[in-house]
């Protein structure tokens, strides 16, 4: 990746993080931790990886994205807004009465959202259905879906994993946001889905490990994911929950809590400083 492009993506990712904090602060609720851990990935998908057109969000030949971990909607909305699907200003309406930005994604309300999600484990099945549909129709669309690591505790994920491999859905790329934290604690403490790569491999998937906060690593992972060898691909990316806001990093308490005014100011200050540093 060219240094200038990488710098641009880094700037965009900080703006996505600002959008997350803006939304969750104004909503006084939401899920900043996992949103921040997936911010770089969503930036990469929407600005680098996916064949999409904000002017034609329903275009049939577009790549699809399903946010299986639907609670990190603030990150998806921020990426969509910055990519031009709707005004960035709208992020302040997150979770408000009458907003088209619901607490969890709604494909009926939000431009650019390909599937309504929120109940964990279900998005990957819908993504598998999309990949099967593309395959049956002879299309070239790739279907991306983002799962949480805690989400892997849902049995349906493994029903879908078995199905996708059995049907040879090699245009399905599932990314696991492995930030190691879920509501009740670390994922090992709660009901460990580890070892994750081995599980997907055993289900017949290509497995790629990546660094969630390194664009070069994501670039390499997606290049390898598009090998279309008859198997679906899982990208297990190590991430830091709350990444980019110092006091939220690796803190389970920030899974589903909104910052107060002082915390909001500090978070925005930190993110502004990151932007400023990237401008130099």
């Amino acid at each position: 990746m060219e240094a200038s492009r990488e710098l641009e993506l880094k700037r965009l990712a900080v703006q996505v993080r600002r959008g997350i904090i803006e939304g969750v602060f104004n909503a006084k609720s939401g899920h900043p931790g996992g949103s921040l851990s997936s911010a770089d990935l969503l930036t990469y998908l929407y600005f680098e990886q996916m064949r999409i057109d904000p002017q034609a969000p329903k275009q049939a030949g577009r790549d699809r994205f399903v946010l299986s971990k639907g609670h990190v909607a603030p990150a998806l909305y921020a990426a969509l807004a910055l990519r031009g699907f709707f005004p960035v200003e709208a992020l302040k309406t997150l979770r408000k009465n009458g907003s088209f930005l619901q607490g969890h994604p709604s494909m009926k309300l939000t431009p650019g959202v390909d599937m309504s999600t929120g109940s964990l484990g279900q998005g990957i099945s819908a993504a598998a259905g999309m990949a099967l549909g593309a395959k049956l129709a002879g299309g070239a669309q790739d279907v991306y879906t983002l799962l949480g690591d805690g989400e892997l505790e849902e049995g349906q994920v493994w029903e879908a994993a078995m199905f996708a491999a059995a049907k040879g859905l090699d245009h399905l790329i599932a990314i696991v946001d492995n930030n190691n934290l879920q509501i009740d604690g670390t994922i090992e403490e709660v009901n460990s889905p580890y070892p994750i790569p081995e599980k997907f491999a055993a289900f017949g998937w290509n497995v790629i490990e990546a660094d969630a906060h390194c664009f070069a690593s994501l670039e390499a992972a997606f290049a390898r994911a598009k090998q279309y060898n008859g198997k679906p691909t899982a990208i297990i990316m190590k991430s830091i929950k709350g990444k980019g806001v110092s006091f939220m990093e690796d803190q389970v308490a920030w899974h589903g809590a909104a910052p107060n005014a002082a915390q909001y100011d500090q978070a925005m200050e930190e993110l502004s400083a990151q932007l400023a540093a990237l401008a130099q």
Partner: protein, 317 residues
Amino acid sequence: MAELEIKKTATRDSYGRALVDLGAQNEKLLVLDADLAAATKTGMFKKAYPARFVDCGIAESNLMGVAAGLSTMGFTVFASSFAMFAAGRAFEQVRNTIGYPHLSVNIGATHAGISVGEDGASHQCCEDIALMRSIPGMTVINPADDREAYTAVFAAAKLDGPVYLRFGRLAVPHLFGEDYSIEIGKGVQLRAGKQVTIAATGLMVGEALAAAEALAAEGIDARVLNIHTIKPLDLGILTHAAAETGAIVTAEEHSIIGGLGSAVAEGLAGICPVPVLRVGVEDTFGASGPAVEMLKVYGLEAAHIVAKAKQAIAMKK
């Protein structure tokens, strides 16, 4: 009435036949099943169009998600399993991934009700209508016979939004001719009558007609309505019936909690309150036994409708 040899077909067979015929017209039709193709009769479609049949294996939750995803890619989708698993096990998947985004997924649920017979309570789903009609925007259809079931498949395929189609395992008498086609959301008056209305759905429609015949022999004039669509419910025809006959008996092969009887009572309570008595499975689980015997054991025969009709008439003011 002379006992004629009446032709009988299980509505699951009508479903399988309809899928094959629809498949010939609609090349975007995909049929999904969960390892029950031989029983749900989607196997007929699989044989005719193997490339458009997707077996999702014994994984109904994933089946519903896959169906949702396929529908967003421009396919006409029918997803099948037994009612117990389609509506029961996968309820939340149907609710969140099909119902909430209002996707045009057709759920072909077979083996509904007590008439599953020998398999017993674990497979006799008498709660599916209650579950499915609680989902906003879901259309719920329980065909009464072969022709109604066959045409319901074509009508559902044309409808925007999710449809739950409820089919049975037991062969039931043909009630309608080739000239009949279901109109979703529109009840059908099968017999005129002034003293009481029997509103029936599914295999109880045949029993309702037999009950009306028996009541007529006793000088009681009963109207019979076929309410094939439980949601959206045809409150027009029901309100007229309530106003004109003053009493309603509902009949369904489903729990008396949450099904047609509940829907009718809820609907009429605010418009035209009259006695509404429900014939159905009385808040209990089923049991193993031959289907026809089990219908008798669980009070799903004409005689039970007759008794409730008399009771309802007695309650009229």
